[in-house]
Every structure is written in C-alpha cells, then in structure tokens.
Amino acid sequence: MQKKFDRGVERTRWLAGITVFAVLGLVGLLANPYVISLMTIVLLFTFLGQSWNLMLGIGGQLSIGHALFVGLGAYSVGVLYVRYGISPWVGLLTGMILAGSVGASIAWLSFRFEVRGIYFALLTIAAAEFARIMFSGWEFVGAMQGLFFPAPSGGIEISMLRGDARFYYFVALALAALGIIGTEFISRSYLGYVWRAMRDDESAARALGVRTFQHKILVISLSAAMAAAGGGVLALVQGSIFPDSIMGMGLSVDVLIGPVVGGLGTTFGPLVGSLAAIPLNHLMSALGDSLRIPGLNNITYGVVLISVVWFLPDGIWPAIVRLCKAIQAPPTAWLWHSRKVEE
C-alpha cells in the first residue's frame, strides 16, 4: 500500500516538475528582454542557492562566504577566456576543481581539530574577504578595474558558451534544472541520508559510523564546485567581473536569500525564494533610484529577511505546501520537501 502511494506521489512530483520547467521554457521563448534578463538572474541564483542549500540544508554546514566560490568560478572562466581565448567550458571545469579544492582546504583547516559551528562560518567569510582583497590588487585579473569579456559576436556558439540573452536564459534554466535533479538525486542516495544525519546530530551520527570529517569535506567541496559553475555562468551573463561584486559580502548574502526565503533544505525552496526576492530587490532598487532614496532596497531586504525568519522560519515553500494541504489540494506539492524523501 505504501509502495503504491509512493509511486503515485512520485508521478505527481515528476509531472509538477516538468510543468514548472515547461512554463519556464515558455517564458524564455515568449517573454520580453527585460523579463528574460531578470529571470536569467533568478535562475542563476536559484542554482547558487541550491549549492548553498546542499551545504547547510542537507550537510548542516553554514557558509557565509559563498561569494569566494562564486568568484573563483567567475575568474576561472574570465581569465582563461579573456586572457588566453580558452573555452568557458574549460573555465567552468577549472573553476569547479579550484573552488572544490579551496572549499576542501577551508573545511580541512577548520574541522581537523573538531572546530565546528560558528568558527567554520567565520572562516568562510574571512577566506572570501581575503580572496576579494587579493583579487582587487591583482593586475593580471583586472584588479579593481575589472575583467571584461569581448562583446558577443551575435551568433550562438555552444562550444564557446557564447550567445545572446535568450541563450543564456536557457543555459541558466538548464543549470537550475540540473541543480534540482542533482539535489534530488543526492538526497535519495546514501549521501543524502548520511549528510542529513550529520546535520541533525553530528555526534550521534558519528556513533553510528558516519565519518563526518570526510563527509563534511565532501559536501563542502561539492557545494563549492557547484557555486563555481554558477559563478562562471554569471560572469558570462554579466560580461564583466569585478572583485567587489563577485566576491563581496553582498553576493554571499544574495546567494543565501533564495533558499532562506524559499525554504531551507527543500529542493524547490531556492527557486521559489529567488523568484520572490530578486524581482523585489530589483523593484526596490529601481524605486530607490527614481525616488532618490539610496538605501531603500537594503531596508526592504532587511525587513523581508527578518520577517521570514520571524514568521515563516521554514520559508515560503513549506508554507505554501501547508496551505495546499489545509485546503485539500491534490498531494502534489508537499512531497517536494526533500527532507521527507522517505514518506
């Protein structure tokens, strides 16, 4: 009976997922350039949010310096392409390996003597700042003046990952889809179980044979590599890389807003959260500019973050799910909650 129920739910999940991505695909085909470029950013931050979510929501490790990994990915793509004309595909791979190793080193440095929790978080932010400052002074990568991609020639070149805004929209969409499928896949594999156990109670997990030291390093490097891939594409989309914006504290915060607002540890949370937060931020920035109130978007963002944690600590997505359940909607939604894989 359980099995049959599972299979039904499983089918609904697939259907729901395919529907969402079909709609997003249509948006890419039909929407105007403004919506396309906004949604590209939303999807990229969905993916970046998923990387952060994997690390905290599943692995239980808080990073507040994710911009470091995003930046390493961006610079790998940028430097290889701009300086040497090497394909961004190679750049993405390089960035992922680089960020993964840096993430592993930070994790190793911090967990080696069983230093946990907030120290690790502070270490991520310190490493990110260190890198930002180093890159700001490094002429080879453009220093503070930034690194610029040549203007696209117009046509779409898959081998060089170059194309117009619509092309990048679909690249971002593919990345977000990959992120969701990947997160689901990991969640259901033994890694998902072991990581969630480690997240919920590290000592208890160790007593059950979980090698948490290795697993923490693994989840952190995986998350870092994902963030680097997102960063590489973000750099291509933006056409330029500045250390302050790609490795700054602000980007680290932007990365986590999606999953936090949407729902930590859930597969769909980062998408929902980014859909809600990023357009709001753009709107408020525009409003602030036109009203000449420079801090307006900061204030709105601040209030949104505090309110979400205060009133909807699980995030918007689980709240929507509860609402659906309460009004007896079909059992579509709530199983997107990746913590509930087993039910």
């Binding site: 000592s203 007593a207 913590r339």
Partner: protein
C-alpha cells in the same frame, strides 16, 4: 570462550572530578553483562570511553585484541561497537525509518538494503508500525527503543545499551528482555546499564558494579546482590534493591 572487550585500568577525570577510576573488566563474546551503580557512578562515562566519544585519562580499551581507546567514535562503530545514548538523540528532521537506516550505511551504500535492515531493526524492538512517524511523535520509551534500533542497524558485535528500558511498563520491558536474549543467542555481546535489578537478574550473566567511579564488585548477579559493599552503596544512595 573468547574475550571480546577488555577494559584495563581505565580512568577519566573532568577537571578535578574523577568520573571513572581505575576500572577493569572484560566481556566474553555472546554474553549479556550488566553495568550497574547509583546515579553518577560513572556508567555513562564508561560507555563514552569504550565507544570513543571520550578519551581516557589513563588505561586502555581493547576490542578483539586491538587497542581502540585512541580511535574516534565512527571507527569504533565500524569495528563493531554500537551504543545508545542515555539522553536520546534522534535525528529530528528524519523519520523513524530514516533514523534506523543511518547505521546501516556503515556497511552498505545501497539505500534499499539499508531500508530493509532498518525495518528489521525496528521490527526487533517493536517499532515497525511507527516507521513512518516523525521522531517527535514517539513517546520517550519508544525513543529509547529507536536508539536501540539505530544501533542494531550497524550490525554490531558489541552493543552498549544505556538505560534503554527506563520508563517501560513491566510487560514491555519483558518483551525487550526477550529480544536481547534472542540477540545474545545469535552471538551478539551486550553490555547494558540498567537500574531495575529484576531485569538485571534476569538477563545478565555477569554484573559489574561501579560506585564513585570505581569498580566495587563483579560477578554473577546472585553473588553481586548479596555483596555487602554493593548493598551499602545502593542503600547509601537511597536505592531499593
């Protein structure tokens, strides 16, 4: 008759407080041994030392002849020692079944294999019907049984049970005693901390008594309860045998 675990002159202090003082005992394979003593006697600390959760101040722990007191808990677990926590520690965001699966991943990476092992463990402690519940829906005795199931999923050779039957009704406790006896017949070695002397008398073939961190008696249960030192330590602490 092989010796599975040997504890040699084990001591552990916290600051000035000596929680475990020069304790030695050994466990024979396939037997159930009880570790008893009044509250604060050092029983849980002993478990932590054996399981690698704490490092001894001095002394050694040998498991199957190998020294393990310097190994981290996950290594000790993978060698075949599983333990429960006296203060239960369920993974809160995971279901009962998922909790019971974790231990299985110490010997398999196959999720469905882990799941069937988890069902088996839950079955043996009488929790199978609640496999899909959240852990906060369980009563405290059930949570203690979940601790036991989690430990069983690691396929241990030695099982350390810390007051898992506290709060159970006599009939429920009798059921668990039956389970433990069956596990022991299957070759599992068990060291259990238990306050209810009736249960100790029933399941344990040997009893180790701690008092103020030191071992004050060891032997078959019948002898130990008759030992004046043991009576004194319990009565002194306001206990009824």
């Amino acid at each position: 008759m092989t010796t599975l675990l040997e504890v040699e002159n084990l001591s552990r202090s916290f600051g000035g407080l000596v929680a475990v003082k020069d304790v030695s005992f050994s466990l024979r394979a396939g037997r159930i041994t009880a570790l008893i003593g009044p509250n604060g006697a050092g029983k849980t600390t002993c478990f932590n030392l054996v399981a690698g959760a704490l490092k001894p101040t001095s002394g050694r722990v040998l498991f199957e002849g190998r020294q393990i007191d310097n190994s981290p808990p996950e290594t000790v677990c993978r060698m075949g020692i599983a333990r429960t926590f006296q203060i239960v520690r369920p993974m809160r965001e995971m279901s009962v079944l998922e909790n019971a699966m974790i231990g299985a991943f110490s010997w398999t990476r196959n999720v469905s294999e882990a799941r069937s092992k988890a069902y088996e463990s839950l079955e043996s402690v009488g929790l199978a019907a609640k496999a899909h519940a959240r852990t906060d829906q369980l009563t405290l005795p059930d949570r203690k049984m979940l601790e036991t199931a989690k430990a069983l999923s690691t396929r241990p050779k030695l099982l350390l049970l810390d007051e898992v039957m506290a709060g159970l009704r006599p009939t429920e406790a009798a059921g668990i005693v039956g389970v433990l006896q069956k596990l022991a017949e299957g070759g599992l070695t068990i060291l259990l901390v238990e306050h209810v002397m009736r249960i100790v008398m029933e399941v344990a073939s040997r009893v180790v008594v701690l008092h103020h961190g030191a071992k004050i008696a060891e032997g078959p249960p019948g002898e130990v309860v008759a030992d004046p030192k043991v009576l004194e330590s319990y009565l002194g602490a306001g206990f009824h045998v």
